[in-house]
């Protein structure tokens, strides 16, 4: 990938570039999925339940939306290192480590934002669902389903954050060529090699991909809305 510019690489179907793009999407999409699985129900739970310390939890969640990626990367690195508590799994410097790290990074975003979305919707639905005798688990499920458009936006926020960050995946992934190199770390590398034009080109490719994912989500919403409202 040395002297070509990004445009030529795309047109010629350069295998290295496509492998990097594929890995970036795989890592971030999986991370977003796991963060959603953890964050959405938790956000819904906090939205619907009153318990002591609830206010503190909400402040904590909101604050953690601003977790510095490099700090998250460092902490996970220490955990996954062979000399760390989870060392025996040998996860450091693998794509799995990157997925874990990104998931940890964006779970607070998804939990905090979904809590707000669901709490607002609950205000609207509370009496109705109570009168229908819907049980607590059913309420969470119903709110998640009915808030789906707003929640997709929440997921896109998480996705965008994960796709754009470089500190976490650099530390836990190691930017290994052909193995843990993703768009952001590739851009960082080309920058450090002085290939600034290529780095900018790759940056535009990355932005296009993020836009494409957002466009797909928009299209999905449009189609779904016309069918079910």
């Amino acid at each position: 990938m040395n002297d070509a510019n990004a445009f030529d690489l795309i047109l010629s179907g350069d295998a290295t570039l496509f492998a990097i793009v594929a890995l970036s999407l795989e890592v971030t999409l999986l991370a977003t999925f796991f963060a959603a699985v953890a964050g959405l129900p938790f956000g819904a739970f906090v939205a619907l339940t009153r318990f002591p310390g609830r206010g503190a939890i909400i402040v904590l969640l909101n604050g953690m939306m601003g977790l510095p990626p490099v700090v998250v990367g460092l902490l996970i690195y220490l955990f996954l290192s062979r000399s760390g508590p989870l060392g025996q799994f040998g996860l450091l410097y693998t794509p799995q480590a990157m997925i874990i790290a990104q998931a940890v990074l964006i779970t607070p975003i998804i939990a905090a934002l979904s809590r707000q979305v669901i709490e607002d919707l609950w205000e609207e639905y509370r009496e109705e669902l109570t009168a229908m005798g819907v049980k607590p688990f059913g309420r969470i499920a119903t709110l998640l389903v009915d808030a789906r458009y707003s929640l997709v936006t929440v997921l896109l926020a998480g996705f965008g954050r994960a796709a754009a960050e470089v500190g976490t995946v650099m530390i836990v992934g190691g930017n290994i060529e052909g193995y843990t190199r993703v768009m952001t770390t590739a851009i960082a590398l080309e920058t450090s090699k002085g290939n600034l034009a290529l780095a900018v080109g790759l940056g535009l490719v990355l932005i296009s991909i993020i836009m494409a994912v957002n466009a797909a989500a928009w299209g999905l919403r449009h189609w779904s809305e016309s069918r079910a409202g």
Partner: protein, 278 residues
């Protein structure tokens, strides 16, 4: 969309995705034939590994996964048992590593040299000098901007050794013209290029660097600028997870005629960057 479909969703999809998660990135993970080599940014950024590693892989089928960090960080990675082999350039740091029992044995592999690069305007007036210590003294005296890696790398260690030999210590004095950035060679060169400053670089990275701007080599050839690379197997007794057979195979290849030839043949713009001396 309904709650029923929502509850069926998790079971199938989660199973599929967990499988995908476990196999993300490549085919099988930990059990394949691969080793992790912690090395320096100079070997990566110069493109050396990109050329010689495929030859090793073709011959042995062992995949080499390179983490490019500075010498200091690479040795730390070895101490934490997160690498199988370390391949760095910082003799005293390497010897301490082996002495402390983290490495098995240090073997020299190749050398190159450092060069002092600086702006064409040459405010310190050092261009063409043959004595690196005199050049450093000029820079200190004139207060010309100088970028230091500041990251415990081999290059940084060499730079500090030169300041010490010239009886100077801009780092401790926190001189305003001395900028420690704590980053790799590429970042240092980028900054030197952007701010028209001097910096010490290994020749390999310099030649392959694409953003030279107004910079050029101002001092080279002094004996004190020699830069020796060594390779060390991480000690399996301290780190049971080390793949010692595969790691040893890599080391053996590097110092073998094949490996040494591969290093010798790597050229950029007709210039050989690294000189094998196993």
């Amino acid at each position: 969309m309904s709650e029923q479909r929502l509850s069926m969703f998790p079971r199938l999809l989660t199973r599929a995705l967990i499988a995908l998660f476990l196999f993300a990135g490549t085919s099988a993970r930990a059990e394949d034939k691969s080793i992790v080599v912690a090395s320096t940014t100079s070997t990566q950024d110069s493109g050396l590994f990109g050329t010689i590693l495929p030859l090793f892989e073709e011959k042995t089928g062992i995949k080499v996964r390179v983490i490019a960090q500075g010498t200091g960080q690479a040795l730390d990675t070895g101490r934490r048992c997160d690498a199988d082999v370390v391949f760095v350039h910082g003799k005293s740091q390497e010897e301490k590593f082996v002495g402390d029992g983290f490495g098995v044995k240090r073997l020299p592999v190749m050398y190159n040299d450092f060069v002092l690069v600086g702006p064409k305007s040459d405010p310190a007036g050092v261009k063409g000098a043959k004595d690196i210590l005199a050049a450093f003294s000029s820079i200190d005296e004139k207060g010309a901007p100088f970028v230091s890696r500041g990251d415990k790398s081999g290059t940084h260690a060499a730079e500090l050794a030169l300041w010490k030999a010239a009886d100077l210590n801009p780092a401790a004095a926190k001189a305003s013209w001395y900028r420690e950035i704590g980053q790799g060679m590429g970042a240092a060169l980028n900054m030197a290029s952007a701010t028209n400053a001097y910096t010490l670089s290994d020749r390999g990275t310099w030649i392959s660097f694409k953003n030279k701007g107004d910079l050029d080599i101002v001092v080279e050839g002094d004996n004190r600028l020699a830069n020796q690379y060594g390779v060390i197997l991480v000690n399996p007794e301290k780190c049971p997870s080390v793949k010692k057979d595969l790691g040893q195979a890599f080391i053996d290849w590097l110092i073998s005629a094949d490996g040494q030839n591969a290093i010798r043949s790597y050229k950029i713009e007709g210039q050989q960057l690294f000189f094998p001396n196993a």
